[in-house]
Symmetry: C2
Subunit: 367 residues, 2 copies
């Protein structure tokens, strides 16, 4: 059996800390370094930030982390600089990068990690299929990774699984396909202020319209990636740039969550649509309304895949696979596949299917 899998985590927000917590519950894997610049986290110990403090962590320790008491995992200090975190994680074979949504923003970090010899899993939505939006950067990442002998993957729940990889897999049961529709109706209620801002929750419809027009509202990042991934997988050549639209979901009733509160007439979420054309015909359609407290207006959440072809396939998941846990799970569950893969930039199309890791992670590493 191979050695314990050692992991470096860059970015210790909701995703990074969630991955750490999940990894601490697994066998055959260990966290050996963490980088996060946030003033409330840097310099603290991982277990302290996760509120799992054993009392044994040494937040001013020597970099390899304090030795926690028996039954407690090895603790590590959260470093402000990636150089220090990489020094702590000299033994790590893989880095989880949970800092950005866009390939362009994550790019320098990815190159830094590649040059230091880490395999990488990125949560950046655009990295789920970077060739779609950033072909030049994708090429450079591939080249650098291949040269360094490491593998780079972007994944998450969406993009990464629900509106793309799952669609692709279901087409595997088809001989022919006319049209694909993927719809994800989900709740934003569990999310914090950053997501509320991205999705325009709490704005007036007029403010939302301005934000959509001037590009300051991000909405869902991933249609370009999901549509590009599906088209490439099937061998469809997109005949036009992907069209996207974004509309406010205006609430008719008050809706409240821990982080947001909207009154009738306010924006409770963002409805996005995306269209991919092949030879002038829309073949791939994405529908993705995201909002807080959808049940307040009787909206049932769910994931839906509707394939018109030979045969038709009509799939639903109700309620939807939750985004936060789902992304955390996808990232940690792909660790063995990324370590096992040949060097270069990979996508979910290239690797074996994700699977929950319930046994010893070391048994999943080849060689």
């Amino acid at each position: 059996m191979s050695d314990t899998v050692k992991v470096l985590i860059w970015g210790f927000g909701a995703m990074g800390s969630g991955m750490a917590r999940a990894l601490l519950g697994k066998t055959g894997v260990e966290i050996s370094g963490i980088c996060d610049m946030h003033p409330q986290r840097r310099g603290k110990s991982m277990l302290e930030v996760l509120k799992m403090n054993s009392g044994g962590a040494d937040s001013a320790g020597a970099g390899t982390g304090g030795s926690a008491g028996p039954g407690y995992p090895r603790d590590v200090v959260i470093r402000e600089s990636i150089e220090e975190a990489m020094e702590d994680a000299r033994d790590a074979s893989i880095a989880l990068l949970a800092t950005d949504s866009f390939t362009r923003k994550a790019y320098e970090k990815i190159i830094t990690l590649i040059e230091a010899g880490y395999n990488i899993i990125s949560t950046a939505e655009e990295m789920a299929y970077p060739a779609a939006g950033e072909p030049e950067l994708a090429g450079k990442i591939h080249e650098n990774a291949a040269k360094a002998g490491v593998t780079v993957l972007g994944t998450g729940i969406n993009p990464g699984l629900i509106m793309d990889l799952l669609v692709v897999m279901m087409t595997g049961a088809c001989l022919d396909i006319d049209h694909i529709q993927a719809e994800r109706v989900n709740s934003l209620s569990p999310f914090g202020p950053a997501v509320m801002e991205e999705q325009g929750v709490g704005l007036s419809p007029e403010e939302f319209r301005r934000g959509a027009q001037d590009g300051s509202l991000a909405g869902h990042v991933g249609f370009q990636e999901s549509i590009g991934m599906i088209a490439d997988a099937l061998g469809w050549k997109l005949s036009a740039p992907i069209r996207q639209s974004m509309e406010a979901i205006v609430t008719g009733v008050p809706r409240r969550t821990e982080y947001a509160s909207v009154e009738p007439g306010d924006v409770a979420g963002c409805r996005m649509e995306g269209h991919g054309e092949v030879d002038g015909v829309t073949r791939i359609e994405m529908l993705h309304p995201q909002q807080i407290e959808p049940e307040a207006e009787g909206i049932e959440t769910g994931d839906y895949i509707r394939i018109k072809g030979t045969p038709n396939i009509n799939l639903q998941i109700k309620p939807e696979v939750p985004g936060g846990i789902g992304t955390i799970a996808m990232c940690i569950n792909m660790i063995p596949h990324v370590i096992n893969a040949s060097p270069g930039l990979k996508t979910m199309l290239d690797l074996p299917v994700p699977r929950a890791i319930l046994g010893d992670m070391r048994e999943m590493i080849h060689q």
Copy 2:
């Protein structure tokens, strides 16, 4: 771009001929040899048997097939002996083997194809995860394939996708799992006499009971494979042999199909269940009632996956993905993945996700 993908087909019944018909509609792939012993097919030309006869086929031709007119595909003669078919298909890189359900029965054929240097896709249900039921033969197939530098895969709709690979993929969105239930409620109406006999359709309940007891009724072949695949994927160690049960579905109303006709009190199908235990607890449960004309008694067909874990996942496909087309699609859609794979015996767990091939198959071949 690589050369046209050339295919040998062994077994030209419903599955083999369906694969041929599907391949003839694809680009970048060609059928170069066919073997089938059936008196109604051997010696005839492929296009004749497929009722696509161009008039240009030469059924007494020189082995490489007659040259059909423009717009018609290259025709081939269906050979009674595999040696002759392999001679026709000297240029083929992959063989589709659609002759058996059991690994033991397909074994000699697989070895013959391996020794002749073909990559192989088998429709045999047990070959979808041969390590579960025939670990010794699986080991030998792997060894021989690795030595010969070819790849061997078993696949189909079920086992192969619905009750195993799709389940595994959905666990990829999970951090933890307590219990998995996969249910497939499907119609046997499109199937012919062989399937009716396997499933006991048309028997009296007493005849069914005897057949189930003495093993002459096959029912669904694949629970051992699907449960084994899921357990291995997740790192669960099964603590007991897989338990299976088989019961008659007795109809209360008359039901008719092209190939079967049952009266109230007769057997209209077969309900199978399978259970996989981990540490004495049932963790994996398979429910699979198959019958003709289920709607006659108000039964809706569908595929259902219910995962109890973090998070819960509740997936359904309604109606079910049809078995015949689905198996044909899975086999031909996996051709590029098998050609691209490293040598040895592979399972669906090892390869990238299946996907419909709508473009040129040559573009999917690496190198």
